[in-house]
Point group: C2
Chain length 377, copies 2
């Protein structure tokens, strides 16, 4: 089947580009010390994650327990649930552990450490925990130097319902970097915060076998990674316009796109309309803070090759407005109604999340497979 | 089961509020002439849509063919697919029509009218069509006064594969209105464009039985509706912060919310962190252009009552940052880790789209039912 036979909008994934993206990250980190812990949050699909793993049992990071349960059903065992735990989720974590999955959770307060330890004791399990550290002031984590780190560490180490397994941090600010040098600084800070906090725990006589850092940009731009035991990254498998804007590969490396039909024209006003609105693309405007603003996505022909400077300038629920980035208008003759376009996403995680499956191609427009995603929680 | 026993994040729907919102819109339009054609794009759920219908066979509007197929399975027959048609979808429309659904489609160009007519002839069906009109310059539709209207009308009327059933227009600009008077003007323009274009078709000897307008804001603020045969509206069933900002009901009328757990605190910086990020809330920032910016949502206790001026100020994939709109900080003692919050959405269509089901309550925190949504295309 050819892409032109599919209903639109739908999600297209280029298998050849994924394999190349995965090869490049693997090679980039090879021999540098830390293991790569691929993050399932972008792809949410075993066929993709399996390609990123050297060993089918893991390690992986996940953003939902549903991803954890799904990957465990597909033989993955070493799973880090990399979002601060909520008490309401502990029963599912315990059930997974009881079935043989080695699920690690994260938290960043003494209060939560005590809640988890108490629940672990009740459920008869010992939850392995990483203490989350804040390396960029943007989100979660213990601030470097805060004595709470040792207090949390002691609770986790002392209580029978928990096991202190190490520290983790995430430099989300790397997505807003303006240049490679910014990302290098962010990556250095991410590493330093993690390694110094691990040292503080060890000096206090506490165990800290795991020192986990990462995001795709910091994994790519990191200099020194000494003392780090693992690097988490997810979006590198697909890449997107945010990553390209950060210098993490080229637009041509982006493996995921949304297939759309041209449903109308406003030739006087220089735009055309497709059936890929925010329901298909997401509302993510990840490149709005970049030097090159890619709107809601960069427009390609059905072959996946970008068309001049056409971007999706605005979206409604099921309508996408496509215009020229420079405001120069679009020629109706080139894309008559009924034509197919492919839209490269600003943010692959957000765009893919709007769909339940991938239509897989391999560098051509022939659909060679359909892969399901595991959405929800 | 109580809301506090659910895994988070998840979607909560208050049945009592839906019923009241539906009653109010029905009463508002009662006796004014046009019939109400409820739009399924917000709820995507038969249990909700059935409440909005006087007759189980319809009429309804839909934003995807999947909604159309699903509603037809649930006895709805009169269905307007209110997004400009793409050729790749016509086979599914023909199949629905062949099964007994009266599906009407829309288009806005002579080229598309010819494509649809040719395909109708091939498939042995006569597609009923509304010509889309542009009343606000924002999106799709024939510009008022453009001779293309009559040309499209003639193709649809003459060709055996199509039936000219009327005109439709949508004033999407109503979502950006700053005051009720703006919305009244937008509604008047929406009505005038539709009625005048219907007149032009009729003066040319063409049929135009249907004159369809609408959006929730214009349905609510419309003055004169003479000449209009039907009004489409969807979000009124749920309401949201955008609607409240437009004066379409109060915050207390919002029927949908996202249940979240507090997973962490950054007390020094005055914010707390929940497990409802953009994956649960969407990236929609619909109130960003309003007088009161509600961020990614307004924060309530588990009982659904808003908490002072707490809003979701930023989101990551699975993290939501909650702070005070005035920047005044939040008291950790009130919402310790593990507490539950409910987030009222900026844009109900976008937030609900991130979930596959509703946990139904009826003015309390007891879960009385679970209703499924029909997502995708």
């Amino acid at each position: 089947m050819d892409l032109s036979e599919l209903g639109t909008p739908c999600l297209v994934l280029d298998r050849g580009k994924i394999d190349e993206n995965i090869r490049r990250m693997r090679e980039h980190l090879s021999g540098r010390g830390p293991v790569l812990r691929p993050h399932a949050k972008t792809a949410k699909c075993i066929e993709v994650i399996a390609r990123a793993l050297d060993d089918p049992s893991g390690p992986v990071a996940v953003s939902t327990l549903k991803e954890a349960e799904y990957l465990f059903e597909h033989s993955v065992k070493d799973i880090l649930y990399a979002v601060g735990i909520a008490p309401t989720k502990l029963e599912r974590v315990a059930a997974l552990r009881g079935s043989g999955a080695d699920v690690t959770i994260v938290l960043d307060s003494v209060e939560m450490a005590r809640l988890v330890a108490a629940r672990g004791a009740e459920l008869g399990t010992e939850f392995p925990v990483l203490v989350e550290l804040d390396c960029d002031g943007e989100r979660a984590g213990v601030t470097p130097g805060d004595p709470a780190l040792l207090e949390i560490g002691r609770v986790l180490d002392d209580e029978p319902g928990t096991e202190l397994r190490g520290v983790m941090t995430y430099a989300g600010v790397s997505y807003q970097a303006q240049a490679a040098d910014d990302t290098r600084r962010v990556a250095a800070r991410e590493r330093d915060v993690a390694v110094e906090s691990a040292g503080a725990l060890r000096r206090a006589g506490l165990p800290c076998p795991v020192v986990s850092v990462g995001s795709t940009p910091t994994a790519w731009f990191a200099g020194d990674l000494s003392g780090v035991t693992e690097v988490r990254a997810g979006v590198y498998m697909f890449n997107d316009l945010v990553m390209a804007g950060l210098g993490m590969g080229e637009v041509d490396d982006i493996a995921v796109s949304v297939l759309a039909s041209v449903i109308g024209w406003q030739a006087d006003r220089g735009f055309l309309i497709t059936d890929a609105g925010w329901m298909a693309l997401s509302r993510d405007r990840g490149t709005a803070c970049h030097v090159v603003d890619q709107g809601y996505g960069l427009v390609c022909g059905i072959d996946g090759v970008p068309l001049d400077d056409l971007i999706v300038t605005s979206t409604n629920q099921e309508h996408g407005i496509v215009g020229s980035r420079g405001g120069g208008g679009v020629d109706p003759g080139r894309f008559p109604v009924g034509s197919f376009l492919r839209i490269l996403p600003s943010h692959a995680c957000a765009t893919a999340a709007m769909h339940d499956r991938y239509h897989v191609v391999d560098c051509t427009t022939e659909v060679v497979d359909v892969w399901q995603r595991v959405n929800g929680w």
